[in-house]
Symmetry: C2
Subunit: 384 residues, 2 copies
Amino acid sequence: MRKPRLMTPGPAMVPEDVLLELARPVIHHRSDEAKQVIVEVAEGLKEVFQTKNDVMILTSSGTGAMEAAVVNVVPPGGKAIVLNAGHFAARWAAICKAFGIVAVTVDTEWGQPVDPARVAEALERHPDAVAVYGTLSETSTGTGHPVKEIGEVVAKTDAVFVVDGISGVGAMECRQDEWKIDVLCAGSQKALMLPPGLAFVSVGPKAWAKIDAFESHSYYFSLKAARSKAKEFDTPYTPAHTLILALRAALRRIKDEGVESIWKRHALMSEACQAGVKALGLELFSARPAEGLTAFLVPEGMKDSQIRGKMAERFGVTTVGGQGKIKGKIVRIGHMGYTDELDVISALAALEMALSDLGLDVEPGKAVTAAQQVFLGKGEPVTA
Amino acid sequence: MRKPRLMTPGPAMVPEDVLLELARPVIHHRSDEAKQVIVEVAEGLKEVFQTKNDVMILTSSGTGAMEAAVVNVVPPGGKAIVLNAGHFAARWAAICKAFGIVAVTVDTEWGQPVDPARVAEALERHPDAVAVYGTLSETSTGTGHPVKEIGEVVAKTDAVFVVDGISGVGAMECRQDEWKIDVLCAGSQKALMLPPGLAFVSVGPKAWAKIDAFESHSYYFSLKAARSKAKEFDTPYTPAHTLILALRAALRRIKDEGVESIWKRHALMSEACQAGVKALGLELFSARPAEGLTAFLVPEGMKDSQIRGKMAERFGVTTVGGQGKIKGKIVRIGHMGYTDELDVISALAALEMALSDLGLDVEPGKAVTAAQQVFLGKGEPVTA
């Protein structure tokens, strides 16, 4: 028997009670009952996003939210600055290109955090940029970017700051309003503890002014349409309502634990996973690890598929490798959402045994012990 | 106790075993296991669409599939003919407008079927039209349009025929390839017996030539991207994989019953529901009823909300009213997908009792009997 442990940076594991919500009979999405669900969900999402804005619900994957945050904000032929530091950051540029928007990229080595000073320089060189597109947690490299500091920089200009928070929101500290994030995107299948299928966009007043200034070529992803329906706790088109019902259950869990406590839990899991990986002599890929996943370099002479295959086949632990230009070079362990300390320890134990099985000179228990020390030292005290 | 009976023309009821699939733990959408699901689903969708084309899966509601069928097919500034005969047909024109496409409408009175001769005229007057946008089953009016005959007309020209089959595919006869439908769209929450959240688009060679002729302003809904991934049984972005897993279960049911048998079941339920409604002295709204729903006019002096409210509150039968310009004027009873003869009889019995309760001079049992006669006369013989 292998018990499945989905330790990927999205989709992530879904709590059993949330899964059961999905099995409930479908109700009509325009019924009062459905509206009441959205009323509750709308409040919960604001708390997760740390915003006073309405958080609009889209039926799509996270990329749909990104598209909405591009086509509605920058007119065709307009200019955008893209903080290009990974596979998903590059998607901002690809979306801009598809819609005839000029994307100026601030290129940063994958695994390195974006330098806010370079964002300031780019804004000075391109005062006509309508928006700066950045990333909270770059899933492809496991890097957390200094969004707060970049927000300060962008706020001094006319440009709006748009952040892909897909694998970050709910996993690591992010305060949309305080941090001056004008548009924040998230997806359901990460720290929000749902299956994929919903995306979220929250838009602040500075960004609404840009959006209201032109008629964008958008229909399904029209944020103006979404805004007017969100005011009535509704959506312009039929939403994936069973997922919204499950979202309510997930948000109740988040409310019970508290957003700040959840950030702390993730910070601790991240620190423990990093400590475990380093205790095995492995090298972290990111210079500034995001808190929902840990990426490490594949040891010399090994293939990522060997390590990941062994972890999956023998222990049921699913991880992912690299994407784009770092395909084959890293392994990424996700620890976001419905993941606890013992899940991290399990993943590290599986990693140790997999590496040992593959003939690497590792001392089983070292990673686990290192993680335990983090949990013991900084977690809740185990003795009174 | 009121047992919920969702008799709306989408979302429709979902079989219990399909619902349970949704409660299964999430797997990674790029795993071999996930790919095998798509391999099976791809085959089943072709059968439902009656096509040799790949049927592409989008994570969106049906409107997303419609948007994909517009932005990828007609270049900005290009011309399209829209067969405008209801609320959802009008959506084709609205999407065209949003993307700078000139929509020439062939306006037909709501409830009337589109006349193929008028489509021929429009194509003659507008030989530069790239596409004709039509509807198989207009959900807002309960009308089935003569798609086969329109397909013959469009096939004689350079234009491609794009059909919104969202509430029709799987409920009424529709043979994409034989009927010369170049692009066919469907949604998950209708006759495919799933909750909302997935949409489907199948594109034939004549339409691919239009699509390949220009670079469309699309990213999330790029059909070129979807095509290349569909070849590998994959999707360009994270799909709503739990819904795809449930789709497999729904398609297995469809395969077991057989697509042609399913069409017959729907035709019979439609005939029975019409007979029942007429037996109560009510007037059908549509001159050519679609087979997944029955729309009737609200009797003089009554409100649709009274009838629908009574059916819902007392008997748990959910129906919908009119949309757009016929809001308040009709009641629509859905009977598509996971709906059988006794569901139709239940809805009619509830309708009879609701009308009687509301003081209308109806003879309870008349509608039920009329429906039974249809089922007895044309269904499977009840005695050997």
